[in-house]
Symmetry: C2
Subunit: 365 residues, 2 copies
Amino acid sequence: MGEEPAEARLTGPVLVVGAGLLGTSIGLALRRHGVEVLLRDVNPQNVTIASSVGAGVDAAHASTTADVALVVVAVPPDHLADEIVAALEAGDAWVTDVGSVKAAPLEAVSARVDRDRLAHYVGSHPMAGSERSGPFAASSALFDGRPWAVTPHSDANPAAVEAVTALAALCGATPVILGPEEHDEAVARTSHLPHLLASLVAGRLADAPPAHLALSGQGVRDVTRIAAGDPALWQQIIAGNAHAVSALLTDVREDLDELLEAVGSGDRARVAALLQRGVEGTAAIPGKHGGPAQPTAPVYVVVPDHPGELARLLADAGDIGVNVEDLHIDHDPGRPVGLVELAVAADRADFLRESLEGRGWTSHR
Amino acid sequence: MGEEPAEARLTGPVLVVGAGLLGTSIGLALRRHGVEVLLRDVNPQNVTIASSVGAGVDAAHASTTADVALVVVAVPPDHLADEIVAALEAGDAWVTDVGSVKAAPLEAVSARVDRDRLAHYVGSHPMAGSERSGPFAASSALFDGRPWAVTPHSDANPAAVEAVTALAALCGATPVILGPEEHDEAVARTSHLPHLLASLVAGRLADAPPAHLALSGQGVRDVTRIAAGDPALWQQIIAGNAHAVSALLTDVREDLDELLEAVGSGDRARVAALLQRGVEGTAAIPGKHGGPAQPTAPVYVVVPDHPGELARLLADAGDIGVNVEDLHIDHDPGRPVGLVELAVAADRADFLRESLEGRGWTSHR
């Protein structure tokens, strides 16, 4: 009667291999639920830090690892296959990893263990991270509300899939089950392509005259934000998903050729059609909480750049009873005043704007 | 002995031609300072609305337009040249426009008026807008804190440059002076290229399976946000700056070919070098208030999705005395809880995080 709690599907300690940002955060999240966590890392200092912040205990100090229910491999992409194989050969626990690509490690592992061993492995990928790395950057809340891909292969043991799904749920994430190849195609489109194209746009700013960059608005800032990510990590991710990324980049090059031709020949209808396809793409991204995208409308408010002013604005919005769905602060040069964009339900925007103006704010839609 | 106030450089009424979003907002902004504003539009209803919200008076009701000091042409890109020429031929006022591209209209006007008339014209471009259009969407605060490009040609009268600069300052914007060609190159890089590449990334989402889009995180949302803009307007902007946009798109196609070759051949060092150039580009964008970019660090906080909770968080941050430089709400599917990223001065992040946790918030860096 009712669903079995996620805890019930993890029946023993979890061994985390790699006590960096992700591994330590997983330990912290599991400890919230009282799950026993053992920690291992090639760098003993990482284990010391991770255990000191409460992410688990040093596996070397455990009396036994024979009863481990699940091994979570959380090492850099280039070392994934080795550690997954080692974990599969060490015992009968289920094994997962949290790397950003799934097909290439699976293929490498498949070539090195027999089918019975392979059945114990199910890859996964939490859609969460940080510009920082290492156990100090970890948090039990890192995965709260995030999608966490669980990617069973055709020979995976259903109980292993269940254990990895339980891991994601215990960490506060939303499990999304899809195949390894499908996962890699999905992240090529939703993560790797955006990263690479943001990087190309940003690369074209690197040599621009400062006077040109003085005209930068919020748009270019938003488009290029993720391009600030660590190239050393990202080149590993791209290399691990080279096939899917190449296919998409090839498609985009065709779009770009069409765009260049249309702009060069003054074919306005074709430019508009390409832009229209982009509009449709933005509408296809799922809305908040996985439901269909709700129509929102922006309300712009001028906010003095002092501590507490933004809070006062949002306190007023809360008093007015309108839920702020999203918020952007416009960073504009030359004035000690910010322009804040509040996204609210479209049918509440006029009410919010009028109510805020009644409280002395300067606003517009 | 101190700077002459901007008001002093506008010595008579301002005639706004085109009472849409920008024209009406300019009228509202000038009226804040008591500047007399006359309004004209091919659509009389726009003038009625604009004057009713306080943006100025119908020019047809003015006793004379002979004393007009400055004409502001605020019509769609395709009609700019005609209206600028008409304004130059109608009298001796200075004339500006607020279109998104500057070289093509200047060339068209130069071909149709003599050099003495042309000296009265100085183009300009406020870096402000909205997804909405028309006089109802207007606001006196639209330009507050925004850059406003002022783009004199070589024969421009210095007094005209001064009048247009005064207009920008009176509207609350920061004037940025640069030549028309330079302006068009600058916005090709900081606005048109980001828009087009965001549109290509978004276009590749349009046909993606919903299961793939379930893995969408904040990154792809930020990259594609501006691609939701109106294709009918954007195709005019791109057409008006086709030369500079084509040149940049050609550069980007070369980068893309290099990236494709590097990914396809597994040349990781070359992929990393392209990514590194993107990192440098993001660092080149000027920081808040035109100063050098200040290092900020993120603090992530879990916020329940109820009205007022975000306000309570920011009130706490204000009490703690840390200024929030930027804020993003992470829209993640499946949970009634949001992850809010607060960007604060890097040397204040740990203090903020610890103080917030002391007040019961769940946070991490």
